[in-house]
Symmetry: C2
Subunit: 387 residues, 2 copies
């Protein structure tokens, strides 16, 4: 597995273009995985996801364990078959979800005891169980169980969680037997440079086919996220893929790639879509802004997504104001297409050795401007078009 899981094709500075080889197809990297926690990327069918250009999605063992249950999905032939998705899948182990969603968790070396956020029932997951569940689900990439410290935790607490994460990673590796499935370890260490280094150095002594950087984007300032990412990646082998967990705003994707990340996931693009926020090359716009009520032009006139090719901002504004379900899908399609195009452009620029130029021009124009200014720009574009 380890040898054939990742090909590094080209670098441009620290940015890397490569590919993940999975039993469900080749996944060009850097890659962003849409989040389908409950075996569905909210509002989208598998056909939609494919048409958007994605070849890999993320799902969550924690959610699927609680509902519908691992046994149900196993009986249905595994997660690919259950959700009718024949592309690649990565499942998270549940460590982060227990940390962020489940109340009253208790962590010992044995594993995690937690209460379901759905019905309050008590559950226990060990590192071995996390692997067993993910083997049953049958994802192409699975994650070791980790312990994520909270932002602001003392260094001793963070060190304890890190060391347990290391012990658990070893146990996960030992417990993992499913062929054609890559198990990644997760680098922890909180906001402490020396712990990040120690975590990366410890885990890379074990033969994992890939490494994730976890425990970031949990409340810390953005410059801390990026610094800790750098401190982690510096000690990861270049021959193996690096996965930055839970990060995925457009600007963060560019910054992550610039620091050598190959794989990303994040619920942000789809979550903000459902709140009416649309990505554009000029920045995020909010469709509930009054100016869009009568704007007879797409959200982004140059966007090739289904939404922008077919609907005016005025129509989207109407759907959101009327509380119509189609609004959520159209916004999701747009934001994910924006991310898919961004990742495609990033990869192309790495292959052509022009990533830094793309990074500069993207971050230059994406610098959040005042929304009113953007609406004025859009009206100007419209006048020019109709002149």
């Amino acid at each position: 597995m380890s040898k054939d899981h990742f090909h590094l094709l080209k670098t441009s500075g620290n940015a890397r273009a490569g590919e993940l080889l999975t039993a469900h197809g080749v996944v060009p990297t850097p890659v962003f995985m849409p989040v389908g926690s409950q075996a569905t990327v909210k509002t989208l069918t598998p056909d939609d996801i494919k048409a958007l250009g994605f070849k890999m999605v993320l799902s969550n063992t924690y959610h699927l364990y609680l509902r519908p249950g691992i046994d149900v999905i196993e009986k249905m032939g595994g997660l690919h078959s259950f959700m009718s998705w024949d592309g690649a899948i990565l499942t998270d182990s549940g460590g982060y979800q227990v940390f962020s969603l489940a109340p009253l968790r208790k962590i010992t070396d044995e594993g995690v005891t937690f209460r379901s956020h759905i019905d309050g029932s008590e559950h226990f997951i060990s590192p071995e169980a996390a692997v067993e569940f993910q083997e049953s689900l049958g994802a192409d990439v699975i994650m070791a169980l980790d312990e994520c410290a909270a932002y602001g935790d003392s260094k001793e607490k963070v060190r304890g969680a890190m060391e347990r994460t290391h012990r658990w990673a070893e146990r996960c590796l030992k417990a993992h037997h499913r062929k054609g499935q890559a198990l990644y370890a997760i680098v922890q260490g909180g906001m402490f440079s020396d712990l990040r280094k120690q975590s990366a150095e410890t885990l890379t002594q074990l033969d994992f086919p890939g490494f994730a950087v976890g425990g970031l984007s949990i409340g810390e300032p953005k410059e801390v996220t990026l610094a800790m990412l750098e401190e982690s990646i510096a000690f990861l082998p270049s021959a193996k893929p690096r996965y930055l967990m839970g990060v995925g705003s457009p600007e963060d994707l560019v910054e992550g790639v610039a620091r050598g990340v190959d794989v990303f996931d994040c619920a942000l693009p789809t979550r903000v879509a459902r709140n009416g926020a649309f990505f554009t090359p000029q920045g995020r716009i909010n469709i509930r802004n009054a100016a869009y009520k009568t704007l007879d032009a797409p959200i982004d006139p140059l966007c090739d997504c289904y939404t922008c090719r077919n609907f005016s901002a005025a129509y989207l504004s109407h759907l959101f104001r009327a509380g119509e379900l189609l609004a959520l899908r159209l916004a999701t399609l747009h934001n994910l297409r924006f991310i898919s195009n961004l990742m495609g452009n990033i990869r192309q620029s790495i292959l052509e050795g022009t990533f830094n130029a793309l990074r500069g021009s993207f971050l230059g124009s994406y610098e959040p401007t005042d929304e009113t200014t953007r609406v004025a720009q859009k009206k100007k574009w419209l006048e020019a078009r109709d002149a």
Copy 2:
């Protein structure tokens, strides 16, 4: 308009196969129109609606007048352009919505004063305004403003509403000037045979290109609905299309066609879908039934819809239990495809002179059976498939 709007091609008993000729394509009849009150068929894109086989949808002047406003849609180039639907559209006048949705309505010969169900603001619509609004929206078929009496109203009250409906129909006809747009009158008369006859005879003296039967399915028993439908249709000209408003369960579509109806609309198929009810040839099933949690087969193994071709009942059960938005779309796709196929089969059988056989076999097997029995049948089918 009147002459070229409808071709009657074939009859089989009272059932009729024909076609509506509109500026946005030929619509084979009998036809069911999915309901898109707010310029969207809930959860579906125009592409979806077309792929399901529909060529005509309904939208509501009442809803669009209140939000986003007729002027906004007119500025966006009309309703077709606004919702990006290049098939045919029929708009209801608002008469029924004022009756069923708006509080504190007051009706005089001038028109209707009502409060918005959204923000309580007061509005007034006259027959002339209803036509003007619908001319601005630009639908292919529009409806005269009518007054719908409530179920249980006295004969005098029903007669008054009917006579006002007649006066308003005449005013609408006089106010209507948009070419390529057909204006239908609405037969009223409540649950009184003689009034139904009188209404049909009065309205058919005016040169409307089509006639609707309104004021039914408002709480009365099903046999009364069908009797009043018969009493109305008996006095409508065979050369013009008949539209039964607000009726559209599978069994009612068959019974309506059997009585000579050409056009139907109803929110029921899409509304019950969002509640987890799926149409099957054996009857309606509720996906929340525990038996579906682990059923590794489509809801309807013979259905050609996207949902049944790609997903098991177990997956749909999971989506509904998890409150996932995709559930609503997949159920809507299924139910509308069921209706689209049913209408296609009905039309084919009329053309072939076998409608009565289809009617008998459909209503025979669709007779609601106990849900548990249907689940047992499905398991049996599954065992047979896997044997």
